[in-house]
Amino acid sequence: MNHNQDLPPDLKDALNSLRAVPERNRHTAALRRQNYLASIKKLPAQARPRSFNISPRLAWLAAAMALVLVMLTGTTITAVAAQGSLPGSLLYPVKTSLEDSQLALAQNSAAQFSLLETFTIRRFTEMDTLLSANTKLPPVLADRLETQFQRMTALAGTMETPGMTLALTSLQEMLQERERLMTASEGHPDDPIYAQIRQRVREMNQLVSAGLADPGQYRQQFENQNRNSSATPNPNGTPGVGPGPVGPNPSITPGDGQGPNATPTPGNGQEPVGPNPSITPGDGQGPNATSTPGNGQGSGGPNPSITPGDGQGTNATPTPGDGQGPGGPNPSITPGDGQGTNATPTEKPGATPTPGDGHGFGSTPTAHPWGGKP
């Protein structure tokens, strides 16, 4: 087809001058063709689908992403699996760590308290599950429960009265229900952990009832406690600690009121006590060398007629009944703890030790009311 007819005459000649092309150099053309054919022959070996044409850097990136994905997926699966784990199982620490993380993320005391309540119910459920399977309760369950109790009572002590009342009421309902259940059933007499938990629930119930009856005094206890804690740092860093269990007669306040730097004196009522008044007067140093420094919140024994403690607070004039609330008898308590670390025992002949109950407000495992591992 000749399109030159469309061309204006003055352009036709001009463009036609380009039409003639000299003959192509055959040798050069053949050489170029050979080169082309040679490159074709290389091609099939190299040719591959585009989707597989991945550079090494991209391959590394893909591998790294896959690894991260696997790790994330694995972590998620582990976390989900841990939710159903029971105390003593391998994944149980994962479960409790997740709970701790949740607590750390809670925005205020009320939210933390609510979470702790949920976790406490979870502990009781775990206990029921283990018991129904005729499995012995592991100490970790009691430890965890105690930590939660302590944190809840301490948190309630930091709240304003309305919030505290609300929190303690809620806690009381839960504890009463649990105590009722544990009392109704004969329990598991062979299981010492079960007995300890039952005892501790009862004590917590009493403490909460006392707190509801007199919120001011309850808060005061924690304020004193916080003061003591700030004066004598707790090397274990355990938060706050709740007050010692309330004795059978809350109105009695025999105690020694030992301050953190108090100089223990024999027979100051710090010694273990409880049901065995014939115990040798303590020297102020419990056998447990790692006793909580400075909490000194021991209280009097369960006998209302007992002589009030001698009160060894720092610079304080011992006054009968200035202790931090009566403790209940708990023979399992480690005797003689709750002494300040800087305490220097001095002999005080003739002092008559007052049988205390040894229920310190201690914030460390040594003051562990379960009498479990320190």
Binding site: H3, P8, L11, L15, L18, N25, Y36, L37, R50
Partner: protein, 177 residues
């Protein structure tokens, strides 16, 4: 074997089909390149580079799936534009500014050569699209439909482009006369 079948086989790296593609299109491509470049070695380079890019595109899973001829001429045209830009960016020494004339050429061939260079210079003053339309339409004698495939524009746009290209070429050639 028609062009589409040839292309399909070429895409499967059939060596014979790839060789056929070269034999079928390289002569026309050489002419096209020579007419625009006015140099046999450059035209050979243009053809070689066009087919090299074609093979590379196939290797990468790209390249044409249809209209092979349009693809090859478009590739050649792009290479020429690149060459022209590269050449234009370099200063031309004074001795090279004179159009080279072969030593044994007659006055007539020398005159033809000078005219060719004048027209080429005029063509390179057009836009790439205008130049491509004029080359394909009036020297390679393609239809408007074929040109529309090569430049990727509809036929009416090709016609409009052709009209503007002729007007521009006329203006340039008359100005240089």
């Amino acid at each position: 074997m028609n062009e589409q079948t040839l292309l399909l086989r070429a895409r499967q790296f059939d060596q014979q089909s790839l060789a056929e593609v070269y034999d079928l299109f390289s002569p026309g491509l050489y002419r096209y390149c020579y007419r625009l470049l006015g140099s046999a070695p450059l035209a050979e380079d243009c053809v070689a580079e066009t087919f090299s890019r074609f093979l590379q595109a196939l290797y990468q899973g790209k390249g044409p799936t249809q209209f092979l001829k349009a693809y090859l001429y478009r590739t050649a045209h792009n290479w020429i534009i690149d060459q022209y830009r590269h050449k234009a960016s370099q200063p031309i020494p004074l001795e090279n500014a004179v159009v080279p004339v072969e030593p044994n050429s007659t006055p007539q061939t020398a005159e033809t050569h000078i005219e060719q260079e004048r027209v080429r210079a005029a063509l390179f003053q057009l836009t790439p699209g205008q130049r491509q339309v004029i080359m394909l339409k009036f020297l390679e004698e393609w239809t408007n439909e074929e040109i529309s495939l090569a430049i990727g524009k509809p036929v009416p746009a090709v016609k409009a482009l052709q009209h503007r290209a002729l007007e521009a070429l006329k203006r340039v050639l008359l100005t240089t006369d």
